[in-house]
């Protein structure tokens, strides 16, 4: 049967005054998998992350992390979770090693295991030769690696990552992906929120597409693409009038379309239904699915 769930949310709701940030969210994260929470800014991803560490209390719904009910038993759950926040909250006047040391205490690692835990984290994040560097002297990529190292110092069963590679250069992003991949292969359960399609596609076993506080589709990336966007896509560039023509022609043939600012993509081209237009043929991807389902441009 199904394995255990590291995270189980049913109907989670969180309101901030008139704004409903999370609007009835269902989320399952099975143990040992990596689930990507994909959505644009404002979809409710960060709020969901905060609810999982009980730094935001849900107004409605059931929340369970590692079998513990939230928010009552959140402290016990947090002892086994590692959190990589979106915004840097390192102690800037301390060194890399000192930052890790502080967290070995906060995560209750016994005296005899602290040193080994710090060494292991430094190695994982490739910061061994930077252990005595003050954090305010580190580059953005190194700081992000330290954030991840800090989250892993107590070998948590579940890691929550909120936009782990936002704002970083492509090369640095690749390095971090390798790190996250390594964690996956070691069997750590990961919940990762992101608005980068490629990141979700590469790293996540399953993806939950979020929009306006709700989940709108869930599944393996490849399955989602096949189900909603088909195999092949035709991308047509041109002035707005032409794009409108393409759209009406496509819908007349029963085909779905989606817009980017400068082009229209006609999805599921293999079921041609007699549709015939000039354009660029390409493979369907997760971005097509996303825009189709949420009607939003992704950054």
């Amino acid at each position: 049967m199904s394995g255990e769930l590291a995270i189980r949310l049913r109907g989670a709701v969180k309101r901030y005054g008139p704004i409903t940030a999370v609007d009835g969210l269902d989320l399952d994260v099975p143990v040992g998998t990596c689930v990507g929470l994909l959505g644009p800014n404002g979809a409710g991803k960060s709020t969901t992350m905060r609810m999982l560490t009980a730094q935001a209390i849900a107004d409605e719904g059931e929340l369970e992390v590692l079998g513990y009910r939230l928010p009552q038993d959140s402290k016990q759950a947090r002892a086994h979770c590692g959190v990589v926040p979106q915004l840097d909250n390192l102690d800037v006047s301390l060194t890399v090693e000192q930052n890790l040391l502080v967290f070995t205490h906060l995560y209750r690692i016994g005296r005899h295991h602290r040193h080994a835990a710090i060494e292991r984290s430094l190695e994982l994040a490739n910061l061994v030769d930077r252990r005595d560097t003050r954090v305010d002297k580190l580059s953005g990529g190194m700081r992000r690696r330290l954030l991840i190292a800090r989250a892993l110092v107590h070998q948590p069963r579940l890691v929550l990552m909120d936009e782990p590679t936002v704002g970083l250069d492509p090369q640095v992003r690749q390095q971090l992906w390798a790190l996250i991949d390594r964690l996956r292969h070691e069997g750590t359960t990961i919940l990762m929120s992101t608005h980068y399609i490629e990141e979700a596609q590469r790293l996540a076993d399953t993806v939950l597409i979020m929009s306006h506080g709700k989940g709108v589709a869930r599944g393996k990336p490849a399955d989602l693409v096949l189900e909603h966007a088909g195999r092949e896509v035709l991308e047509v560039y041109g002035p707005p009038k032409r794009l409108a023509e393409v759209e009406s022609a496509a819908s007349a043939h029963g085909l779905k379309t989606r817009r980017t600012g400068t082009s229209v993509s006609v999805l599921g081209l293999e079921a041609r239904n007699g549709f015939d237009f000039e354009g660029e043929r390409r493979q369907a991807n997760l971005e097509d699915v996303f825009v189709l389902l949420t009607g939003e441009e992704i950054a």
Binding site: E4, A54, I57, L66, A79, V83, N89, L106, R108, R157
Partner: protein
Amino acid sequence: MAAAARTAKIGRLERPAITGVLVREIVNFSSYWRAATFSSTVEPTIYLLAFGFGFGSLVSTINGYSYVEFVGTGTVATAVLFSSAFAAMFGTFVKYQFQRTYDAILAAPVDTEELVTAESLWIAVRAGVYGCVPMVVAIFFGLDPSWGMLTVPFIGFLTGLGWANFGIMTAGYAKAIENFNYIVSAVLTPLFLLAGTFFPLDGLPRWLQVLAEANPLHQCVELVRAAVLYGFEWNDLLRVGVLVVFALFMWRMAIYAMERKLID
């Protein structure tokens, strides 16, 4: 397969959590101790010297004690106040606003109650130590050392605990760092002036003197004077009681205010 293996029962005010936050404070202190020591000791010492020399040449005795004795013991409370209330207000606010430090700590198995308790304990320890500085300076200017002086760090600690919690509570409610100006002018200055630190309260109208009895800072001053000059009496237990009540009340208020701020 069994559900997630349960760890030992987790409760409130756990030692590892408090120790963890304390470790963080202590490790960080090593990077700003010079500035903290400077601001906590220089200003009270200036008060001591300025009033000691200025007034001291006029006022020879107050209630039978020399002015050096009066002001040397009084400025202990000044040093305690400066090193606890101000440190707590500004330190907490900066950590929250600019460094998002608390987000990191609360993602670990630490709750707000433990966080606040650890931080105010640390500030209170510092207040107990810094509070002794003006007293030590006064010794060089004629204050006779006495065994009672050994209790002064503890009096400073207890007073500092209340003021640290007060500071944390204020930071919990403050929306901008400018808000602290109001607290300093409207709360701290009157309490500082109505404590008998460097001038006696005898010349003030009766109602102000009664108000001063409710001022924790005044109780601190009287306790320090008792310790160093007069000797303790049963009355002083009441004074300790006031400080304990102040510390406990502010502790709960600080936790309440910070929980409101940190947990949505």
